[in-house]
């Protein structure tokens, strides 16, 4: 009886020497159930975001002072001039962030067709050149700027020599059922400041680096620091009830790591017992899973730029 139980337990984790099968926890059936579990988890998160808005989110701690500092560090590293923080641009950035929350979108152009340049004009910023970068779901200021630098179109904006002023807004709110921290970065050069021989464009020419991308994810905000005076330090700190990044990453690492361990046990035990099975390459499975776990553990960031 005890022997049967031990055998049954062992067959969960180790290949069967007589039947020449993999451990039951990495059998086809088990893999199928893992897939179902993951589908249900993904669906469950979506359902929670819809039914209980604000429960899920991404922890963050972003401030405009660091955003400005890291942005100018990148520019100065390329031999470009530092950008000056401009009140009007920050007002425009704040208005853009508010508009995204109000109309529940995350894009350069709103569903109503309002483009970024509208907010420049509303803030009284008469631009000759203008550009906009967006970001959301990042945990800190450095990773926001790093992500912009990793994206060719955003990097072009950030390192554009036509700009001499910049504005930021970091705002917490609810987007698509998730608590989110939005970062809006606006670049500009005032019309009156543009040397006529330098820009070579017609009046109103705009270097609009409207960058593609769009995504929706969120950050849960426990506190939302409104941006009343744009040039003052603006901080957005969020601590959601459930940090989606930590949760999904933990689930992926535990499940993926568990399966890898089972494959390694399969490799070791089959070799030790001389079990020859007709199945897929255990090394190949392990390699693929390792690659994804490396990605999940060290590379993936929930942050998105737009």
């Amino acid at each position: 009886m005890i022997g049967d139980m031990q055998g049954s337990l062992a067959s969960l984790f180790l290949p069967h020497a007589v039947h020449k099968r993999r451990a039951r926890l990495i059998s086809h059936e088990a893999l199928f159930y893992y897939a179902i579990f993951l589908v249900l988890t993904i669906g469950g998160l979506k359902a929670v975001s819809l039914r209980l808005p604000g429960v899920l989110g991404y922890a963050s701690n972003i401030n405009t002072s660091d955003l400005l500092k890291y942005t100018n560090e990148q520019r100065e590293g390329k031999g470009l001039g530092a950008l000056a923080l401009n009140d009007d641009l920050s007002q425009a950035a704040k208005a853009k962030a508010d508009d995204m929350f109000e109309h529940d979108y995350w894009a350069h152009v709103s569903p109503q067709g309002v483009d970024p340049w509208y907010f420049f004009s509303q803030a009284g910023y008469d631009y000759y050149y203008a550009g906009e970068n967006l970001a959301k779901n990042f945990s800190d200021s450095r990773s926001v700027v790093k992500a912009w630098m990793n994206s060719p179109s955003h990097r072009d904006n950030l390192l554009n020599t036509n700009y001499d002023e910049i504005g930021f807004a970091v705002v917490n709110g609810e987007l698509d059922g998730y608590e989110t921290t939005l970062v809006v970065q606006l670049f500009g050069k005032r019309r009156f400041a543009a040397p006529s021989g330098q820009v070579g464009g017609s009046e109103g020419q705009v270097a609009k680096d409207v960058v593609p991308a769009a995504a929706k994810e969120e950050v849960a905000a426990e506190e939302s620091v409104p941006l009343q005076v744009p040039t003052q330090l603006q901080v957005a700190r969020t601590q959601p009830v459930i940090d989606v990044t930590a949760f999904t990453r933990t689930v992926a690492l535990i499940l993926g790591g568990f399966i890898i361990l089972l494959y390694l046990a399969d490799l070791w035990y089959s070799s030790k017992m001389g079990i020859v099975k007709i199945n897929g390459s255990t090394i190949a499975h392990t390699l693929l899973l390792l690659m994804v776990l490396l990605s999940v553990g060290f590379v993936i960031s929930p942050g998105r730029v737009g």
Binding site: S151, A215, T248
Partner: protein
């Protein structure tokens, strides 16, 4: 011996393909959807590799092909979960 060497060479092909996929994944860090596609490309390569590998080893069966498909599916779902795709 030749069979073992062939197996090793096949694994090297797989390793290189997965490295390329991982490289794409890192390069496309600014867009989670592109990142997902980069790994999806690697998974597709892995499934095709698995089928060809077993075909050349005269061990290709539906059971084996299904195993590659299932492992690939689990991997993609793990990634979709973390990237918030779906």
């Amino acid at each position: 011996m030749i069979r073992d060497r062939g197996h090793l060479i096949h694994l090297i092909y797989l390793f290189l393909g997965l490295c390329f996929s991982f490289f794409l994944f890192i390069t496309l860090q600014y867009d989670p959807l592109y990142q997902f596609f980069a790994i999806a490309l690697g998974v597709l390569y892995y499934i095709v590799w698995g089928c060809l590998h077993h075909y050349f080893m005269d061990k290709l069966t539906l059971h084996v092909a299904l195993e590659y498909f299932l492992v690939g599916s689990v991997v993609l779902l793990l990634l979709a979960l973390v990237l918030g795709i779906g």
